[in-house]
């Protein structure tokens, strides 16, 4: 069974249709890249999968491990293993990163019927995870993303990904706002989390990111549909010729 299956998805935002029948099948262990110009509906897809309010699904379905994802509340999806790494992670003043992560992890565990993890056990775990990703410990004590650089914010997303151990990770424009060094560090973190059970959907505007996170499948989106799919070489092709050739196809 595929891990994530998007079938003929149609989505509206305020009466305007953004996705016009999008399909996508992701299997465990695979890394898919979704590329496309601005306004092609890439971020809408990621938001609908995660359950962000404000989108109206007018047709199609999304199955996650065979279950109807659209019937689940967003926090339920998180507990089941759907993770969205945000393009612009928000700041939460006054809430320490480690407190936030502890509360979130326990909420997920509770939803799955698992025991809550105690503070000392959690602290040990989060320190280990941070260490394995070369993330400085002091980041855990700071307010969630408050005063973080662009690179630090993305690393915080990756830290959470590592901690929650989701089955599907959607990375929404992870490269935006990162210089080349920060991009490499973030990509290393993502690569460390690739596994035969876990799938990743990497949404990006530029091919650059895919030099560091090498995908198994590349999809090109235009005007709310997937217009072409292929291997990693498709990304390079796009880099050469641009998106214009697909505008008409859509």
């Amino acid at each position: 069974m595929s891990l994530l299956e998007v079938k003929d998805l149609q989505v509206r935002v305020e009466e305007r249709e953004i996705l016009h029948g999008l399909s996508l099948t992701v299997n465990p262990g695979e890394v898919h890249a979704i590329m496309g110009p601005n306004g092609s509906g890439k971020s809408t897809l990621s938001h609908v999968i995660a359950g962000k309010p404000g989108y109206e699904v007018t047709g199609g379905q999304i199955l996650f491990k065979g279950e109807d994802l659209l019937e689940m509340a967003p926090n339920e999806r998180a507990a089941k293993g759907v993770f969205l790494a945000f393009q612009y992670p928000v700041e939460i003043p006054g809430v320490t990163t480690w407190n936030f992560l502890h509360a979130a992890l326990n909420a997920q565990r509770k939803a799955r019927g698992e025991d809550e993890i105690s503070s000392p056990a959690f602290l040990k775990k989060v320190r280990e995870v941070a260490k394995s990703l070369n993330i400085p410990q002091d980041m855990l004590k700071r307010g969630v993303n408050v005063g973080f650089s662009g690179g630090e914010k993305k690393r915080n997303e990756i830290l959470q990904m590592a901690l929650f151990e989701p089955a599907v990770c959607i990375l929404d424009e992870m490269d935006s706002g990162l210089d080349i060094d920060a991009l490499r560090i973030a990509a290393d973190g993502v690569n460390a989390l690739r596994s035969p059970e876990r799938a990743m959907v990497v949404i990006t505007h530029y091919q650059r990111l895919l030099n560091y996170i090498v995908p198994d499948v590349v999809h090109v989106m235009s005007k709310g549909r997937v217009v072409k799919s292929g291997g990693k070489e498709l990304a390079l092709e796009l880099e050469e010729s641009g998106y214009a050739q697909f505008e008409d196809a859509a």
Binding site: A50, G51, K52, P53, G54, A73, P74, N75, A78, A79, F83, L84, F86, Y88, P89, V90, I92, P93, G94, V95, F100, A103, A104, L105, A107, Q108, A111, G143, Q160, F164
Partner: protein, 498 residues
């Protein structure tokens, strides 16, 4: 969407679910006849076996009150109060004279147990349980004065406090036992003519706490008073007087709850604090009076005058308040910085939900030289509530070197509530340094969604964000109350997002 439906349901159940203290104790009580007259004042004074000077003081206040009108400048709106339709005194009928805690009516003991207030002299463990077999956390004692409707029903740890020289007793007892102290200080911070509600309180106050900390003494434990309104149609008019003599220190906490009822009940308290040279009082409040139901019916009118007088040099008064209850709050804990180098602080969290109306803030009156004050106010408005910060910072002509820092932050949850900031600043000399910062923000959909995507429920997400917002004020509370306040904040905001 089912999630939205659920939130709507929760908002509807607001009054039933959230207010955990809404129960009523079935107990016989002794009441003054309904209404207010000179006879009512005499009745209360006689009930308390007060000396003649006290009765005279009350009557003077009563006559004064008759000439005054209810203030209307606050941003609150309520139907006219019929002062003749209130009982001004209600006391649980004593079975006999009490000599120990075990003789208190078991119904009352049960009430306080249900509220989680220790009336037995047990030490409270700080924060968490000690690990099994591990070292015992040093325990901390808290002395409690429990005021039930109009009377104090128990005061704990009196003996231990007495050994330290600290007087902690119901004010009705202090009037009889320490008349010289009461006469010297009562009404010197909040005069009987101060304002409509304070004057009313001066006429009919029935009980409250009295604290005197002698020179050089650091009070060996936290003192607290727990106010409970139980009786129907009854006003609670408590009066608290705390004096920290030269070089002394005391930390005091008050808590308040009331049963949930459809009619509004009046609570008009007066608190007076006095610090002499080098003394410090830290006064913390967790106010959780019944806020009314989801339609705005019922709830307490909390019209309170609290003021501290830093009378001595280098003295300090610090107010910390967590206000989550009451239908209407009208409350401005203030500091008169009279002594040179004295300092005042006001840390406030005011949360309003449903139809609650809050008009609260502080006054920092700089009179002495080189006085300083600090105001940190966090207002959180949800539901259809209105939340106003009203503050005054003033420096007298002779108050050279006065300094103030004010930060007022408001957080809005939803789009049917309002947050307002009304700061007054008056500097009558050129050497004063006053800083004022204010922000208003909304909990954004993006922040909530971020939290929810990480597995938190809507309520948990709001609770987390709000607790982050109020963190710098929570840190001012004694540890065990900070934990309690944090829970209370989350409960108060349940169902606030829809």
């Amino acid at each position: 969407m089912p999630a939205v439906q659920e939130t709507v349901e929760r908002v509807r159940r607001i009054d039933v679910d959230q207010y955990r203290y809404g129960f009523e104790t079935q107990i016989e009580s002794d009441k003054a006849p309904k209404g207010l007259s000179e006879d009512t004042v005499r009745f209360i004074s006689a009930k308390k076996n007060e000396p003649a000077w006290m009765l005279e003081w009350r009557l003077e206040a009563y006559r004064r009150w008759l000439t005054m009108t209810e203030p209307t400048w606050a941003r609150v709106d309520y139907p006219k109060i019929d002062y003749q339709d209130i009982y001004y005194y209600a006391a649980p009928k004593p079975k006999k004279t009490l000599s120990s805690i075990d003789e208190i009516d078991p119904e009352i003991l049960k009430t306080y147990e249900k509220l989680g207030i220790p009336l037995r002299e047990v030490a409270i463990l700080e924060g968490v349980e000690p690990p099994p077999g591990g070292p015992q956390t040093p325990s901390r004692k808290i002395a409690v004065d429990a005021v039930f409707d109009s009377v104090s029903v128990a005061t704990t740890f009196q003996k231990e406090l007495k050994a330290a020289g600290v007087i902690f007793m119901p004010i009705s007892e202090a009037i009889r036992e320490h008349p010289e102290l009461v006469q010297k200080y009562l009404g010197t911070v909040v005069p009987t003519s101060d304002n409509y509600f304070a004057t009313l309180n001066s006429a009919v106050f029935s009980d409250g706490s009295f604290v005197y900390v002698p020179p050089g003494v650091r009070c060996p434990m936290e003192l607290s008073t727990y106010f409970r309104i139980n009786e129907r149609n009854t006003g609670q008019f408590e009066r608290t007087l705390i004096i920290a003599d030269k070089g002394s220190y005391v930390s005091y906490l008050e808590g308040c709850t009331a049963p949930q009822r459809d009619e509004n009940q009046l609570h008009a308290a007066v608190v007076e604090l006095v610090t002499l040279d080098d003394a410090e009082i830290k006064y913390s409040t967790v106010q959780n009076w019944y806020p009314g139901n989801s339609e705005g019916k019922g709830g307490i009118y909390n019209f309170v005058t609290k003021r501290g007088d830093c009378r001595g040099r280098n003295s300090k008064i610090s107010w910390t308040q967590v206000e989550t209850g009451s239908a209407i709050t009208w409350k401005y804990p203030s500091c008169i910085l009279r002594g040179d180098n004295s300092s005042g602080e006001f840390y406030s969290i005011a949360i309003s939900n449903g139809f609650q109306q809050v008009d609260s803030g502080t006054k920092m009156i700089h009179l002495g030289k080189n006085t300083s004050s600090r105001i940190i106010s966090k207002g959180i408005a949800a539901g259809r509530s209105q939340n106003t910060y009203r503050g005054l910072v003033s420096a007298h002509r002779k108050a050279t070197g006065a300094r103030n820092y004010t930060a007022c932050d408001s957080l809005l949850i939803g789009d049917k509530c309002g947050a307002h900031t009304v700061p007054y600043v008056e500097a009558k000399n050129s050497s004063a340094t006053f800083e004022h910062e204010a922000t208003t923000s909304k909990i954004s959909e993006d922040v909530l969604f971020y939290c929810i995507q990480r597995g938190l429920s809507q309520e948990e997400a709001v609770g987390l964000v709000v607790n982050g917002f109020v963190k710098d004020v929570l840190q001012q509370l004694p540890m065990e109350f900070a934990v309690e306040a944090q829970k209370l904040i989350s409960i108060s905001l349940e169902g606030s997002v829809g």
